[in-house]
Symmetry: C2
Subunit: 367 residues, 2 copies
DNA sequence: GTTAGCACTCCAATAAAACGAGTGCTAACA
DNA sequence: TGTTAGCACTCGTTTTATTGGAGTGCTAAC
């Protein structure tokens, strides 16, 4: 006969997981029997534990040791917790007061802001954290400015909504004069103005080239460079903080091999992006991925909590927090909610008041 | 009577250090007695070792274990090695052929170049490496371009020698019109053009403000922003790679505490800059700092080799390699020489041919 | 269905023993 | 006087044994 997860089993499972989150040690029946809301002897607990194990929610590291949660156990726990949180939020929404933004005073530069956020998270959670710079696919172009540096080189400055600025030096084969540059300026701005970066695709560029007619060759070069500057994928940066926090959790750091692999993963942009990007945003935008669900041998003992922030105008990015499987999901989800809310509020649609100075990114100063 | 370091002692010291560099284990007299250029019994070696210990060049981790080099021992070894290297280079200079630049094909972006260099070093040395983005104090200004974004905001684009580009959005209290901006453009360019960033100090700015007269208030704001954009210290970036290489050296990683501290140091910009900046460039520009010489408790078991690269036009930066005290100094110095030579040659004065696309840095794309 | 009791398991911590690389010293030798 | 063989001794490392204790599963009684 199939066992099933009744109320009492769920209470016991919660007790086991909560205790394990705190201690990191396998938890035994006696410990649970002392739990306030339960009033059962250790023997009874043992029987229930045996059932929970049969259900695949907990497991024994070795015969006759206490139990630890299995990935499935964590999963259940996290899902129920997230559901609860959502309900809570729903209920509070009406009564919500604009809290003072303690964490983030407006900062002039996106880069600094992101770095400060990621550090804030690392310090307050004691886990390893990361954040991507915003991606701008849906951002609208404000204007393009071409300036002559000298014969043979021109500087293209592209400004988009949110004062996102990109620069690119274009090296020309043929000489050029100011009039031609002026003409191109007008052409570019009249045709591209107001389009989103997504919309300025190869087709648009091709059409522009055709229209250009006479200086076709020359314009072609410029357009290619501008298109390139606008749409570069590799612009995405990932900032990390608190990678060394993993040393605080013996199950991650006692094995040097493992620790090295983990820290190594934090050095590389690509694996981090994979980690953040795999799952699409859904629901309230907070995702928890546990252990082997990550499909990453180095991280099989870790969990990752990801969230998205949305600054409006098509500017959005992702945040990730990496810790041991026994991370304090509750706290992490809470803090992430807080932070993304603040980001959304301060810079986002709702806030509306301001977008100046945003998006200066790694290049308020473009060396 | 004072013992002194005769030829034989030096040979033995070299043998000890070389062996220790390879193995990382204290080396005993018997091992050394088997050395090819030496033809002595272990007993004799023991006597000599005793003398070397008295001279402070080697030491015993505990009674009746083999010897390991002391900081002073390393120092002597490194200094003599560097001297030899210098002589070699001097001798080869005349016969020097322009080697093909295998390592570094011209890359469009400084940031990518630096990242690739620092990774190259990490992979090839197996140590942790870092490199600063260039600093531009002696760089000459090419031009400043102010553009109107909308009423209330203007974009200042500053271009310096080597096509170093910086952007800054300036938020204005008072409205402004195109004519005023045009006027300011002319004023700025006529006065600042050709000056180095060092020369555009507060004095120059103050004088400009005075001359401006009428729109003094408005110009003042713009000038402050431009001055700020030009001279920001915080622009210096540090790229690192291979931090996890330290896990390859048990003396650095066996103690979790220590490993954590070291990796942590690599997460922070500031300590790294301190590490790189403390010593001024001198001689051929390669510096070795050993153990406690670093004045950093976390790094007391490390050595750091630093070098400078000079791309001409006042654009220069630093490279640092961090490893255990028993790092392969010889190899590291060699590789560093190669890399800095290539950087100097490709972009530097001698190369002369080109400086385009340089210095796009973290902000060819200034978000 | 719950609980007390008890034998059993297995990890972790501690202690004891065996090992071995390397030294310092002494005495003999060229 | 410098070099070498020999030997007792030191001290960290590794191996093996011993013990302790937390926790289980099962049985029998309530």
């Amino acid at each position: 006969m199939e066992k099933e997860l009744d109320d009492r089993k769920w209470t016991i499972l919660k007790a086991i997981i909560k205790t394990y989150l705190e201690t990191g040690e396998p938890v035994g029946s006696r410990t649970i029997s002392k739990f306030p809301d339960l009033n059962l002897s250790s023997a009874t607990i043992r029987n229930e534990m045996s059932d929970l194990e049969e259900l695949g929610l907990i497991l024994q590291p070795h015969t006759s040791s206490g139990r630890i949660p299995s990935d499935a156990g964590y999963r259940l726990y996290v899902d129920r917790m997230l559901a609860e949180k959502d309900a809570e939020v729903e209920k509070m929404k009406s009564a919500m007061v604009q809290k003072e933004a303690v964490l983030i005073e407006r900062q002039d530069k996106m880069e600094l802001l992101l770095k400060s956020v990621v550090r804030y998270l690392a310090v307050n959670t004691n886990y390893a954290t990361m954040i991507t710079s915003p991606q701008y696919h849906r951002t609208k172009l404000k204007f393009i400015q071409l300036s002559v540096i000298d014969e043979g080189q021109i500087l293209a400055t592209v400004v988009a909504e949110g004062n996102v600025v990109k620069n690119r030096v274009i090296h020309m084969e043929h000489g050029l004069n100011h009039d031609m540059v002026l003409e191109m300026n007008i052409l570019l701005n009249s045709r591209l103005n107001g389009l989103t970066i997504e919309e300025i695709n190869l087709g648009t560029i091709a059409r522009l080239k055709e229209e250009a007619g006479i200086h076709s060759n020359l314009i072609s070069e410029v357009l290619d460079a501008v298109a390139d500057a606008i749409s570069r994928e590799e612009d995405v940066e990932v900032y990390t903080s608190g990678a060394t926090n993993i040393f605080k959790y013996p199950e991650l750091s006692s094995d040097t091999e493992k620790a090295s692999g983990l820290i190594g993963a934090f050095e590389e942009k690509h694996p981090l992006l994979t980690l953040l990007g795999e799952k699409e945003t859904s629901g309230n935008g907070i995702q928890v991925t546990i252990g082997r669900e990550l499909n990453n041998e180095d991280m099989k003992d870790c969990s990752v909590v990801t969230a998205s922030y949305d600054m409006g105008g098509g500017i959005y990015g992702k945040i990730g927090i990496v810790g041991p499987k026994r991370m304090d999901y509750d706290k992490v989800v809470g803090i992430l909610k807080e932070v993304t809310d603040q980001l959304d509020r301060i810079y986002g649609k709702s806030g509306s008041s301001n977008t100046d100075q945003i998006g200066q990114g790694p290049g308020d100063n473009a060396y």
